[in-house]
Amino acid sequence: MPARILKKERIAPAIYRMEVEAPLVARKHRAGQFVILRVSPTGERIPLTVLDKDPAAGKIVIVFQVVGKTTMMLEDMAEGQEILDLVGPLGHPTEIHNFGRAVCIAGGVGAACVYPIAKALKEAGNHVVTILGGRTAEHLILEREFTATSDRLDICTDDGSKGLHGFVSHRFLQILEEREGVDYVLAVGPILMMKAICDITRERAIKTVVSLNAVMVDGTGMCGSCRVQVAGKTRFACVDGPEFDGADVDFKNLISRLRAYKVLEDESRQLYAARRHACEERAQAEAASESQP
């Protein structure tokens, strides 16, 4: 059903936080689940992370990074406008227990997926250490939120502009070397980041959960577009996941499959960018002609 945009906020370069009206999803959503949306009658269906919900107010908070045409269109939408279709919550909720010492590793926009899970882990009594990574200080998101839900928050940036200079996997290795003892790891972010973390935890036999952002169409198990290889078996990220035991995931295959439509997606994006540019030029020209006496 259509979902009205209540609030839109840029929280990092090309990353937006959006509050949308979706009472049914807000009522049902649990940490780990996602939504699928479509912004125009000719649009595609894309899965997006749900950061938070407010069932009483009938709204959810979504976070997205502008990467393709659909997210560019979302970026161009204003508060008060309606997203044509929004459906969910989809996928299994995260299994939350008191595991003991949990490390939540969040890379880039993946932090939006980690946040509700970290919060739920904390509420379940876990000792939560969060490692939040980004390219630069500017690219870090949800720092304040993670501070509230973590016993300790470690920050890493690729360029050293804030926190530790280096990748989240480096910081994670340090934690392991400090012999803090880790019972549970959650890692969501760029595929290579998740792979690096799983390579570390696999040999140490630490339970590691990853959330996979496979390409989806319907999101209900019907098409199989989102299939991933887990422990040598074909699983569907939409109905079997989106979370899987990271030790068993074939990340190389996931990287390939995420690239499948690159040429076509670039074409779509360029066409839209050209249209956007033409609109802006026209608006500028109109503004200029109006300002002239």
């Binding site: 269906r45 045409k69 044509l84």
Partner: protein
């Protein structure tokens, strides 16, 4: 038109079975428009007049929804096309769809007595003709509805079974809401069956007809996720009909199936039909269009995929089927259409693995030739691999059309709902009753992947059973139990 004979009312001139004009094969593979144009009015009258109006019509026995076939043929013969459509609609709310996608050759037309010495009456083409005539004339009539009963029914899924139940119950005065997971109603009719076989405008018209009967349609609602079956009951629905379809594609479990360019038929068709990737980049959903497309499987879905591939610009479109042509479950019409359009059939051929290039896109498929051995459990001769017959076929897209498992969302989220080992919901054959009170089910989620009309038949029986539960009134038709199997 092939036939210019005038009917001679005085003498019983033998009229041959009429053929529908259609787009020439060379032209139609360049577009997604419907292949047949349909009968002319003259042809419809000629064809309907071929019916000898049996006193005990066998054809009706072959119809899962019990249409008064001689009755509507008689009206066509007399030139009363619109009335003929209304006659069909007494039993079947979706004639424009059934006229196109029912396997009449194994149902009503198989039992037509004319078929013994000659060819059976073209019941399907005539059903299609009058349904179209009614729609085009803008004379779609709302049948008399029973007074409101105050009972509410939720229908899960808007495919053929769901639409049928909704239509029947609405006519009986119940308040019906259909919940559809996707953004457009129609289920397999919109995501699965291609435009060239079933134009989406027709599905839309049939759904609008149900809306005119008072049915509410809610899209973007994944029952089991957005709302559970139990919550639907708590919300005040007096009965639930689950028709969530057979939507979980099977793969072959051969190496290379996760390469880019390997699709389940569901995905290939959904991207094209529901998301319209054949109109990319006007529509945003992308699809890898192969130059050489191999579709694995021998059913209607495989044929739809192979024929879609041609329309998407494939130079070669292969059907890879491990048995022989005689065992192909696809409708004869569809196989013939595929042949005319240039689909190449590789029978007795088994895919062994799919091979990728350095970027993990499909480059070839290794297959093995088979021969027919001893009969297996199904009575069909079992295909046996011929040693040393392996060879590599250069292909760049592979579509796997070997069937679907039932969608797990509802069974997973409905405690106490009994399911088969293979995941299908267990429901009474005649009433659709499940192990849960007030919960009925029908269509592919119960039977496994079958045909549109079987799903509609199940929907109709369930509608009567639901009506009986809600009002005590028994409307179940007196009808022989056997309906020929359609797969």
């Amino acid at each position: 038109m092939t036939d210019e004979q005038e009917p001679k009312p005085a003498k019983k001139a033998k009229t041959p079975r009429q053929k529908m004009a259609e787009q020439p094969a060379g032209e139609r593979t360049k577009n997604f428009n419907e292949v047949p144009f349909g009968f002319s009015p003259e042809q419809a009258v000629l064809e309907a007049a071929r019916c000898i109006q049996c006193k005990k019509p066998k054809c009706v026995d072959g119809c899962p929804v019990n249409i008064d076939i001689p009755g509507f043929l008689r009206l066509i013969r007399d030139g009363k096309f619109i009335e003929a459509a209304w006659k069909i609609k007494e039993q079947n709310s979706l004639p424009a769809i059934c006229g196109r996608v029912c396997p009449q050759e194994t149902q009503c037309e198989q039992l037509c007595v004319l078929g013994i010495k000659d060819k059976p009456v073209s019941i399907g083409y005539l059903e299609r003709y009058v349904a179209d005539a009614e729609r085009i004339a803008g004379e779609v009539r709302i049948p008399p509805l029973r007074p409101p009963t105050g009972k509410r029914v939720a229908v899960v899924g808007s495919g053929p079974a769901g639409l049928t139940v909704a239509g029947e119950l609405a006519k009986l005065g119940h308040k019906v809401t259909i919940f559809e997971a996707l953004h457009e109603p129609g289920g397999v009719l919109v995501y699965g069956i291609p435009e060239f076989r079933l134009p989406k405008a027709i599905v839309k018209a049939e759904v609008d007809y149900l809306r005119a009967l008072g049915v509410k349609v809610e899209v973007d609602m994944v029952i089991g996720k957005t709302i559970t079956v139990d919550e639907l009951l708590e919300m005040g629905h007096h009965a639930i009909f689950v028709a969530s379809g057979a939507g979980l594609p099977q793969f072959m479990r051969i190496p290379g199936e996760s390469l880019n360019g390997v699709y389940s038929a569901n995905e290939f068709l959904t991207r094209n039909n529901l998301m319209r990737s054949y109109q990319f980049p006007t529509y945003d959903t992308p699809l890898l269009r192969g130059k050489r497309v191999a579709t694995i499987g021998g059913g209607n879905v495989a044929m739809d995929s192979a024929r879609s591939a041609l329309r998407l610009g494939a130079e070669k479109s292969y059907i890879i089927y491990r048995r022989s042509r005689a065992e192909m479950p696809a409708r004869v019409d569809e196989i013939e259409h595929g042949e005319e359009e240039g689909v190449e059939f590789h029978f007795l051929t088994l895919p062994l693995k799919i091979v990728g290039n350095e970027q993990d896109y499909v480059r070839a498929m290794v297959v093995q030739r088979m021969e027919l051995g001893e009969p297996d459990d199904s009575g069909r001769r079992r295909p046996v691999p011929i040693p040393g017959s392996e060879f590599e076929m250069p292909v760049d897209v592979v579509v796997v059309a070997i069937g679907n498992n039932p969608n797990p969302l509802i069974p997973q989220t409905t405690p106490g709902l009994a399911v088969q080992k293979w995941g299908g919901i267990i429901a009474d054959e005649k009433t659709g009753k499940t192990s849960r009170d007030h919960v009925y089910a029908g269509g592919d989620i119960v039977t496994g992947a079958a045909t549109v009309i079987l799903a509609m038949g199940a929907g109709k029986n369930a509608a009567y059973a639901i009506h009986k539960e809600l009002t005590g009134e028994d409307l179940a038709p007196v009808k022989p139990e056997s309906t020929p199997s359609a797969s």
